[in-house]
Amino acid sequence: MKKFMALAIAFALSLSFVGCGDSSANESAGSTDQINNEASEQEHSDNDEKLKISIAQFAEHGSLDNCREGFIDGLKEEGFEEGKNIEIEYQNAQADMGAANQIAQNFVNDKADLICAIATPMAQACYNAADGTDIPVIYTAVTDPVAAELSNENKLSEKNATGTSDKLPVEQQLKMIRAFMPEAKKIGILYSTSEVNSETAIEQYKEKAGEYGFEIVESGVNQSADIPMAAADIASKVDCITNLTDNTIVSNLAVVLDAAEKASIPVFGSEIEQVKNGCVAAAGLDYIELGKLTGKMAASVLKNEKKANEIEYEVISQSNVYINSQALDKFNLSVPDDMKESVIEAE
């Protein structure tokens, strides 16, 4: 008897919590399921038929959120609009690997028409889950698709996948720092050992730093709790700090800024969100643009123009310099004359 009660309560519990969640979203998601199931058996011309686009995002994070927004915009520009001809389902794994796998699996089980996977681990989880099905996986915010084995050296995927890479514009960043700080010698970089993208980026920095007369001092942390010490330590050794897109460090940006301010050195960001939050400047990718580009790739797959594995993954090379004037003033830095035209104030 007891075990039945236990089972019943366990299930009731999980269901009731679901109920507390975004109930309107559930309803719409549920109803789309039905529509799609019915519709998929009919011809594509049917007006009621909507394609199911499932977005799987690894973590909650300014840049990743921008990617998602951009992706939706990109689809829209190509004529795929939510509620009209597509339905979008979105799930976030909150940086939990187990949840990421489960979400990927669920999207595949629900027979999504296309999966958009945001950030490397999510891309890998979806890539694996969709293997053996004909569901295309379009990834974005993957720093190095080749290292992540999502693509081969020719920028094409072995499976039904493609996407965009958010490789940091390292050279532009170095050039920008040199322009702002002609005297600086050492640049400090904090990264977390758990993020593979950060290691790749540091290698790039080390490779290029010499050309601009810099020396890179890096310091790895294993967890958020290590950041205050590591930041204080590195701030005392360098002329400025530059950030990567390292999730752990970016989430603790305030701590890094605080340590840098105590040592009277500026912190350069790697994207606009960080500049908004107090970094002096960044030669950053526009993640909305990156998302849009991804959305357009997805659109061409949806239109059956090309298969995902026939599309090379793309890297956006163009970057903007974002500045935070208030922060610049704090460190007596000013925008070099030749950049005054092109910089964008981050607000």
Binding site: M1, K2, K3, M5, A6, L7, I9, A10, F11, L13, S14, L15, F17, V18, C20, G21, D22, A25, N26, A29, E89, Q91, N92, A93, Q94, A95, D96, M97, G98, A99, N101, Q102, I103, Q105, N106, V108, N109, D110, T120, P121, Q124, A125, Y127, N128, G132, A147, A148, E149, L150, E158, T193, S194, E195, V196, E199, N222
Partner: protein, 289 residues
Amino acid sequence: MAITLSILEQGLIYAVLALGVYITYKILDFPDLTVDSSFPLGAAVSAILITKGLNAYLCLIVSFLAGAAAGLTTGIIHVKFKVRDLLSGIITMTMLYSINLHIAGKANLPIFNSENIFSISPLKDYLGGFNTLFIIFLVVLAAKLVLDWYLKTKSGYLLRAVGDNPTLVTSLSKDNGTVKIIGLVIANALVSLSGAVMCQQQRFFEISMGTGAIVIGLASVIIGINLFKTASFLKPTTAVILGSVVYKACVAIAISFGLSATDMKLITGALFLAVLILGNLGKGKKSNA
């Protein structure tokens, strides 16, 4: 159908981990946090060896042994240096984090383009979509049968006795410490094996994949033991395996109903608590004895 298949796959992979946690938590009464790192340890070992071209099945064995070494470390810290159980696990877990990074070489190591235990299965062509499940099932079955057999040996008897009544083990002129170490070795070997299978199934190693592994293990054990307590024809090991599948099913159902991962831990905790309250008998009985 597809969702059932994925629940069974995931549930059974974690069932191997749950069997390990069953040994430490239920038999040894040892809260072993090593699990959070021995799970990715198995994955790291498997991933790196696969990229080096070792046979995927042999990788499982090496992962199993690596896990055994992790358990041995926790055991020695606890028994020989007299560090408290919880702390010994935490110490090994912390150290293993770095070691895992060193083993894999980086925080994320994909093996999409390499062979794995599923792709080289000789039965692949016959089983089609069930190939993965079948291989996982074989691993779980092997782990369960070997564990069942072991618990019926003299050494296994002693292991069961040590968590139950360490005084008796001393009276039998056996060192409690050695027996505990053996238990931890077997438990973490199983956990690591589970990590290895997981890594080969998801086809990449990710350093964060062990986060919360102990919770999954504990939940599976508690759900399994409490739900199937009245079904006395089931061996505890079978109950634990079923517990793992039930747990994964709850999670999968929750997600497919649109539950966000934000609330996931809350649900996990609530589910955990509900089963504990409903079945708050197992441990109670034991201490009244």
